[in-house]
């Protein structure tokens, strides 16, 4: 009998591990996947384009249920794992399924943070995490008029844009005036503000949310200062937290998330973890690229070919709002010892700032023209000495190669 691999969670990270593992060692494991949702595995990043009406749900489901069947993988849909018994090497699902495992892969992802304010549990207050949330929002756009999105990060802006494109009157609330302050600098934020305003989004900046108002269902949002805003729908996009309750209960070592080593193994050698629920060398990630890197290493080890190690990721961020091109990576704020290259073309809505340190590129913010983001990302990762590229660096790869 083949050893059993049980996969907890059917998101982007875990299914990538399964896929790579099947390529490398198709006959090695008897694989079962537990999924709290029912669609198969979809590309979560593309929820925003679906919300905005640019892609259909079918477009983003990369691994429909049939995919599992074709490969002999057992998929438990709508049936999340509720307990892990490490002594008996057993998982138990919500519906009562109990499965033994020889290897366990935990990929429970993350959960949206909800602000601890009064009214947060009213009907019509949601996060933005999964297809169900998108469906709730799409339902709202068909019947309701006013939406408030709290949080001016990537997800918040994408949600606000999508709802607005679907015809709702949207107010985007942010606690400072620097939208995307995790991703861009103030100059790019100013361009972004202008663009969002052009798109008829109401911006409520420097606003601390005091309460969600409503009896049963949300009717508005109030703030520490200034007038209340009417709301039929409130989307909370103020951040995410690793979803580690299950792991914690099972006694797997966690800090902010499940602690893994460079092979994505947890402190329990039979248990691996990947994705937003892991903490590696002190870092947690909420972007897709590190997941791919983790999945590659993890699959190799599960396939028993493993010698590669995951050293951590340099991340880059993009905003999935069509017509707004925005990219940032590395230390784009800079500090002592850094030097800036700044290109501004406000009429064309282009802003680029590259941060250099010790003759290397260490960070980049691109707004309006992001075509060279990947190249800059590579230059940062490879720690290339850019002295000879410096004069044309800001103009991009096509100005620097063979020059």
């Amino acid at each position: 009998m083949k050893p059993k691999l049980v996969v907890v969670g059917n998101g982007m990270a875990s299914i990538r591990v399964v896929e790579l593992l099947l390529e490398q060692a198709p006959e090695l494991y008897d694989i079962s996947v537990f999924d709290g949702e029912i669609h198969g595995s979809y590309n979560r990043i593309l929820l925003s384009p679906v919300l905005a009406g640019e892609k259909a749900v079918a477009d983003i489901i990369d691994y429909p249920p049939a995919w599992y069947a074709e490969r002999g993988v057992t998929l438990y849909r709508g049936d999340p794992v509720v307990a892990i018994n490490r002594f008996r090497r057993l998982v138990k699902s919500q519906s009562g399924v109990e499965l033994k495992y020889d290897r366990l892969l935990i990929a429970t992802g993350s959960l949206p943070l909800m602000l601890p304010v009064p009214g947060v549990s009213l009907k019509g207050v949601i996060g933005f995490r999964n297809l169900e949330d998108v469906e709730t929002m799409l339902e709202a756009t068909r019947q309701l008029r006013y939406a408030v999105v709290i949080g001016g990060g990537l997800l918040g802006i994408e949600a606000a844009n999508g709802l607005s494109r679907r015809g709702m009157k949207v107010t985007l609330v942010h606690r400072s005036d620097a939208l995307l302050n995790q991703q861009i600098d103030p100059a790019a934020a100013a361009l972004l503000r202008a663009t969002l305003r052009e798109r008829k989004l109401e911006l409520r900046l420097n606003a601390q949310t005091r309460a969600i108002i409503g009896r049963d269902r949300v009717t508005g949002v109030s703030f520490d200062e200034g007038p209340d805003v009417s709301a039929d729908l409130v989307v909370m996009a103020v951040g995410i937290k690793p979803n580690i309750d299950l792991a914690k209960k099972a006694g797997i070592r966690c800090d902010r998330a499940i602690v893994v080593d460079d092979t994505l193994q947890t402190y329990d050698p039979r248990i691996y973890a990947v994705g937003e629920c892991v903490q590696h060398r002190g870092n947690t990630y909420g972007l897709v690229a590190p997941l791919w890197e983790q999945a590659r290493v993890c699959a190799t080890h599960l396939a028993q070919f493993g010698h590669s190690r995951y050293p951590g990721s340099v991340t880059s961020a993009k905003l999935k709002v069509s017509g707004i091109d925005l990219f940032s990576t590395g230390d784009f704020i800079g500090g002592a010892g850094t030097e800036d290259l700044v290109y501004r073309d406000p009429r064309r809505g282009v802003y680029k700032r590259l941060v250099l340190k010790d003759q290397q590129l260490v960070g980049a913010v691109l707004y309006g023209d992001v075509s060279d983001g990947a190249w800059y990302f590579d230059l940062i990762k490879s720690k290339t000495n850019i002295t000879s590229l410096r004069e044309h660096l800001v103009f991009g790869k096509s100005f620097c190669e063979a020059a």
Partner: protein, 932 residues
């Protein structure tokens, strides 16, 4: 409108031009006149670009007193009263005219007449003093008259052409081309170039003698002695037609052996002897000379040293031989003919000769006649500064630029009580000092005659109406003369009438053989129609002689009769003298000045042409690479030149032909075109004792790097004030003005500096006029900005801490576009287009920056069938996966279409996208089915 026949206004070759003005008169189509015997239809680059120099922009359009516009009456009265008052109080020698070889003969004639016959002074001198007065003096000493013996055709008939101090490839291109063509047809013809610099003229030379600056007389004395020693003389000619041979030979022989001479000239003895042998062996030899000979403190001796060699071999007055003074201005010769210099009288008559004075005064019926020489150019400006000359009228020239010690000219004009300037250009370095400005007609508007280097008088015809209130110079002078109270001599009604009087004077008491070769008797009494139709005519223009061929006057001295009292030519002993300035530790190099190919004089005309700005855009200092290294100069960076008289800053060029120990700087740039480019301010004002011509080719100079805080350039459709930069040059472009800049002050706020410099009021994003792009690398001191208006590039500024900046040509091309396309806009501040290569096409995968063409190429070439394969081949789709649907679509499209052969892409042109290229290759060539 049909073409108008006229003459080029640049060098002394005097090419015929056919000008066809466009409808609004702002430009003209310019062609060479195929029937003109100077150029037979050819024109050089300057002449060809004449059409670009027209138009009223920059022209002086109305009279001014101070800065105030006045009418002509007021201006003319003001000048007449001013001159009269000063003459009344201080005598006639307290006033002066400083005129120009660019005046037409008719203008020149009345100016000379007014000064010498009515005011009664000889204080009329001309910029020709700076140019060919040594040739005049040499001719007069040798021949008794200022006469160029040869005609251009002789250049084609000669077996040896020696060019001394004449870069005719640049300065007289049409003559150069005639010589080059003659040599092509007759390769046995030999060309020797004597010039310290390796100029472009050397490209045509069989032998180049890079002699030490100022050692010409030594070389030529050596030649004379060598010819004597080697029995290469024409003893009969010497005996029958010359005087002064023995003294002259003795002086020449004192120069020493050929080894001594070679050492003194700094050349190889074998080359020296090769030259001497060539000279001896070729009967038909022409020695052409220009500024390298004339502009010297021993310029007149140099001219005579040349003529001595021709007289000693009898090589004069016959086809294909003779000394040949190549003049630099369109009408220097005409000025000489009318006597428009301070040491001449009129019509080749001499001030010193009482019977000549009597002849002229009688002919003019004038109240006075100047009886002694007036002040020559350098003396004149000295006298003005000393306050002895209190009124000066400057016509058609720019002495603040062109004089030696040119800052002295500034000081002089500043002190002068009354400075009148007639010009066609409003802003020149000299008009800045004018008390009265009189707008003169320009080249395209003038009507009269000019004489070229082969004594050929050619009509200049107007083909455009005068700009603004401009008037002809002869009219302005006559009006002032009449208002000064001199009615009778100045009531001309046309240029033709002036010319007729000039022709009559040339023939007055001038029986053929009586000594004055200059005679226009055949041209007397022409009707206006005849004057209009006057074909190019050489003088002497005598009645009853053939119009061409032998005896027609094509070449002079065919009868070996010279214009001296005894009819014999004179040898002039010319002991070699070193240049006046001696080199020392403080000023260790020789400053040499001259023209560049595509500019002329002080650029008032050529500076308006974008075409002519291309060749040499900036003032430069050409220096030998070893000298540059020794003095810490770097090619392409800036250097400062300093002499006892002044200093300037120019771009270092180590790739020209300057020898060790010498620096060449062009004469053209001035305060209108560069902040520190006026080389005249550095030139030693020492003059030749006989001709009064300054030594422009030899001033001791020091050089050092000019270190700026920053370097830059700007382009702008509107003219800018470049004063914000410490050093600047202004360059005319077709759609823009370009400024090369170097800053002497640190700039803290570049965006503000750039906005101020480019004339933007405020960088407010709200203002639709302010479409502003910039790029800053603050730490590296790099800043670039561009201003766009309605999608069209308006201006841009590039600065850097070093002189290395992007090439200007590509940026210049962007100004030809009415709208910048997105790729241009993106590339603009890079200063160049993206590196040539295949266009990746619109971006599909933004995570990895993969374009559609890259993906489709990979699909076709590698036969990819699914998105995953595409990802592994070109990375697209491998990160967020957003583009996977589009990749799938591309896969389907390609699967559904037949294979397309590999496109033939002109990779040099990145603007041709791969898809366009493949479309065109499909449509133009059927492809084999099995391909791919």
């Amino acid at each position: 409108m049909s073409a108008v026949r006229t003459t080029c206004p640049y060098c002394g070759v005097g090419c015929g031009v056919l000008a066809t003005p466009n409808a609004d008169g702002s430009a003209a189509t310019i062609k060479g006149d195929p029937d003109h015997p100077a150029n037979f239809g050819r024109l050089c680059v300057k002449g060809s670009a004449l059409g670009e120099t027209l138009g009223s922009s920059g022209r002086l359009l109305y009279p001014q007193i101070g800065t105030e516009r006045v009418d002509w009456n007021t201006a003319l009265d003001h000048v007449a009263t001013g001159f009269n008052k000063i003459i009344a109080e201080h005598g006639p020698d307290a006033v002066a005219f400083y005129v120009s070889g660019q005046l037409l003969t008719e203008d020149y004639y009345v100016a000379n007449k007014l000064m010498k016959g009515w005011i009664g002074s000889a204080n009329i001198d001309t910029n020709s003093r700076l140019c060919m007065s040594s040739a005049v003096a040499g001719h007069k000493r040798a021949f008794g008259e200022d006469a160029v013996p040869i005609c251009y055709e002789d250049l084609e008939l000669a077996d040896l052409i020696v060019l001394i101090g004449a870069n005719i490839a640049w300065c007289h291109p049409i003559l150069f081309q005639r010589i080059v063509r003659a040599k092509e047809l007759r390769p046995a013809m030999r060309i020797v170039v004597v010039d310290p610099r390796r100029t472009d003229t050397c490209e045509a030379a069989d032998l180049h003698l890079p002699i030490k600056a100022g050692s010409d007389v030594m070389l030529l004395n050596g030649l004379l002695a060598w010819l004597a020693q080697n029995r290469a003389l024409d003893d009969a000619f010497i005996a029958e037609h010359t005087n002064g041979w023995n003294e002259t030979l003795a002086v020449a022989q004192a120069s020493g052996s050929t080894a001594d001479i070679a050492a003194a000239c700094g050349i190889d003895e074998a080359k020296l002897i090769e030259f001497y042998q060539l000279f001896a062996a070729n009967e038909k030899v022409i020695t052409g000379f220009s500024m390298g000979v004339n502009q010297s403190s021993s310029g007149t001796d140099k001219v005579n040293a040349i003529i001595n060699c021709h007289l000693a071999t009898g090589r004069i007055g016959r086809a294909g031989m003779g000394p040949f003074s190549i003049t630099g201005q369109p009408n220097a010769m005409g000025g000489r003919e009318v006597g428009g210099l301070a040491n001449m009288l009129a019509a080749h008559m001499n001030l010193e000769q009482p019977e000549h004075r009597e002849t002229v005064q009688t002919f003019w019926n004038s109240p006075k006649i100047a009886s002694r020489g007036g002040l020559k150019a350098v003396e004149l400006f000295d006298a003005i500064e000393r306050g002895e000359v209190k009124a000066v009228w400057i016509m058609a020239t720019n002495p603040v630029v062109s004089m030696p010690d040119a800052d002295q000219a500034k000081r002089a004009l500043e002190k002068c009580e009354l400075v009148v300037v007639s010009d066609c250009i409003k802003a020149t370095d000299t008009t800045a000092y004018a008390d009265v400005l009189l707008p003169a007609t320009g080249w395209a508007e003038k009507d009269g005659t000019v004489t070229n280097s082969e004594r050929r008088v050619t009509r200049q015809h107007a083909f455009l109406p005068p700009s603004g209130e401009a008037r002809h110079d002869w009219w302005i002078i006559c009006e002032v003369a009449q208002r000064m109270g001199f009615q009778d001599g100045f009531d001309f009604d046309s240029a033709a009438a002036v010319f007729d009087e000039h022709a009559r004077l040339s023939a007055f008491r001038n029986e053929v053989g009586s000594g004055r070769l200059f005679n226009l008797e055949r041209l007397i009494g022409m009707t206006p129609a005849e004057f209009d139709a006057l074909p190019p005519t050489q003088w002497p223009a005598l009645n009853g002689v053939p119009l061409s061929g032998e005896g027609s006057g094509e070449r002079l001295f065919e009868d070996h009769q010279f214009s001296t009292t005894d009819g014999r030519a004179r040898f002039v002993a010319t002991p070699a003298r070193a240049p006046a300035g001696t080199l020392d530790a403080e000023f260790p190099l020789v400053l040499n000045t001259g023209r560049v190919r595509d500019h002329w004089h002080t650029m008032t005309r050529t500076g308006r042409s974008a075409k002519l700005a291309q060749h040499r855009a900036e003032p430069f200092m050409e220096i030998h690479a070893d000298d540059a290294a020794q003095f810490g100069l770097t090619h392409g960076e800036l250097g400062r030149l300093t002499t006892r008289w002044g200093s300037c800053v120019a771009r270092v060029d180590t790739q020209g032909g300057s020898p060790r120990g010498s620096v060449f700087v062009p004469i053209h740039w001035n305060a209108q075109f560069a902040s520190h480019g006026r080389i005249g301010a550095l030139v030693n004002p020492v003059v030749d004792p006989i001709s009064g011509e300054p030594e422009f080719k030899h001033t001791p100079v020091n050089v050092a790097p000019f270190v700026a805080r920053w370097y830059g350039f700007a382009f702008s459709r509107q003219p800018l004030s470049a004063a914000g930069a410490g050093w600047w040059t202004r360059i005319t472009g077709a759609q823009f003005t370009r400024y090369e800049l170097a800053g002497t002050e640190t700039v803290d706020d570049w965006p503000k500096f750039a906005a101020d410099f480019l004339g933007v009021d405020a960088l407010s994003e709200q203002n639709p006029a302010n479409d502003w792009i910039d790029y800053a690398d603050e730490k590296a001191g790099l800043y670039r900005a561009a201003r766009v208006i309605d999608g069209r590039l308006e201006a841009c500024l590039f600065v850097a801490p070093q002189a290395s900046l992007p090439a200007r040509a590509w940026l210049a091309g962007l100004f030809d576009k009415d709208v910048l396309d997105p790729a241009d806009r993106k590339s603009l501040l890079a200063g160049r287009p993206a590196v040539a290569g295949v266009d990746a096409g619109p971006q599909v995968c933004s995570c990895f920056g993969v374009g559609r063409n890259t993906i489709t190429d990979a699909i076709r070439k590698l036969g990819l069938t699914n998105a995953k394969e595409v990802t592994s081949a070109v990375k697209a789709g491998g990160n967020c996966g957003s583009c996977v649907p589009e990749i799938r679509r591309l896969l389907q499209e390609i699967a559904a279409s037949p294979p397309i052969p590999e496109p033939v892409i002109d990779s040099a042109d990145p603007r041709i996208s791969a898809s366009e290229a493949s479309l065109s290759s499909v449509s133009t060539s059927p492809q084999p089915k099995e391909y791919s």
